[in-house]
């Protein structure tokens, strides 16, 4: 008797689960994303290539790159589309997605690097191991005349990030489209 009662509840329930399974799974997946990851996926200003990538890491990476650590600010040049520069009070602000994270902003003799994936899909042409070493040690072969250390970029702060966060940043940079630096000067910010 009891078995029948349970079966009469369980069988339709399982049938519903089987039918609605894929939808429920997607809903459950979204539900299980943390606010930071969700926000990261929402604010990414370019189309992301998520094939073969961990969506959670990419989302977290986007939140770090686009908001918390604002890599975009120095590594996108010019930062905003003409007529949409919030520093000039122009609204709505519109990011320059054509040259997004492609570097090219000059700080004295130092120019920000292109962080977008190269032909092999490696951000800035760096493997994860090399990327990690750059951030953790601040060493670069880019400008031997000025010594072995990366200048301007606040890596002495970023190097304290957790492995997970640095991995997330790398995964996000793998997911963005390749881009080339924009033409110079026009929208350069007054920055030291």
């Amino acid at each position: 008797m009891r078995f029948r009662m349970i079966a009469s509840i369980a069988v339709p329930l399982l049938a519903v689960l089987a039918l609605a399974g894929p939808g429920l799974l997607t809903a459950a997946k979204d539900y299980s994303l943390t606010p930071k990851i969700k926000r990261g996926l929402q604010i990414a200003p370019v189309k992301l290539n998520l094939r073969g990538k961990n969506r959670r890491l990419v989302g977290l990476g986007s939140y770090l790159v686009n908001s918390q650590a604002e890599c975009v600010s120095c590594h996108t040049h010019p930062e905003f589309v003409a007529g949409h520069n919030p520093y000039l009070g122009e609204r709505p602000a519109r990011l320059n997605t054509a040259n997004y994270l492609a570097g090219g902003e000059a700080f004295g003799p130092f120019v920000t690097t292109n962080l977008t994936p190269d032909a092999n899909g490696n951000p800035g042409g760096l493997t994860y191991a090399v990327f990690l070493e750059r951030i953790r040690t601040g060493q670069t072969p880019a400008h031997p005349q000025f010594g072995p250390f990366i200048q301007v970029m606040p890596w002495p702060s970023y190097r304290e990030m957790s492995d997970q966060e640095l991995r997330a940043i790398y995964e996000y940079l793998r997911a963005i489209p390749h881009a080339e630096p924009g033409a110079s000067a026009a929208h350069r910010k007054a920055r030291s």
Binding site: K36, S67, E70, F80, Y87, G138, F149, P156, E160, A190
Partner: protein, 188 residues
């Protein structure tokens, strides 16, 4: 084993798996957030006044200010104590005497603000509401007709309320400081 027990077991296992699956990420995130909070307390370079403050927010705020958002880079001038600049290959030593007291020049008329607490305990003299407005809208409370320049507020604007609250709480808990005397400044 009776059938009813079997069905209950299967249903229980299925439900348990589902619940664990749903909780996996939030639990993982909570662990990660806790490690960021702990790290925040480790890297804070000054003594913190935690009286009447939410410790978790202060720790998270320290992590954001000192690690992820690198506020020190522009708001402490010079950022490092003599002999403590990692960009010169020296072991990192933050300039704690002028920590977050601003004073870094960025072109004509643009100097980073002192974001330490004033005599009433408000960071840069701003209420939380003013701070949020500044971060989200670029409002310059010192010159209300101007938008904040240089400071990457258009990007910080997308931070969560929690992150902004944490940053503000951390800035409330650091000691007041003054920018270094102009003559003593080391320009990077």
């Amino acid at each position: 084993m009776r059938h009813s027990h079997m069905v209950a077991l299967v249903c229980g296992l299925a439900a348990g798996t589902l619940v664990l699956g749903l909780l996996r990420e939030p639990v993982g995130a909570a662990v990660q957030e806790q490690s960021n909070i702990d790290r925040g307390f480790e890297v804070a370079p000054v003594e913190l006044d935690l009286r009447g403050k939410n410790h978790r927010l202060v720790g998270l705020g320290s992590y954001l200010v000192n690690v992820v958002a690198a506020c020190n880079d522009c708001h402490t001038n010079p950022p490092y104590a003599p002999g403590g600049n990692p960009q010169l290959g020296e072991p990192k030593q933050i300039n704690t005497a002028n920590y977050l007291a601003g004073g870094t020049p960025f072109g004509p008329g643009i100097v980073s603000f002192d974001i330490t607490p004033d005599e009433t305990g408000l960071p840069a003299g701003h209420s939380y509401g003013e701070f949020v407005e500044q971060m989200r809208e670029g409002t310059n409370h010192h010159r209300p007709n101007d938008v904040l320049q240089v400071m990457p507020w258009p990007f910080y604007a997308q931070m969560s309320d929690l992150d902004l609250r944490a940053i503000y709480e951390y800035l409330r808990s650091i000691p007041h400081a003054e920018p270094a005397a102009a003559g003593a400044r080391i320009t990077r």
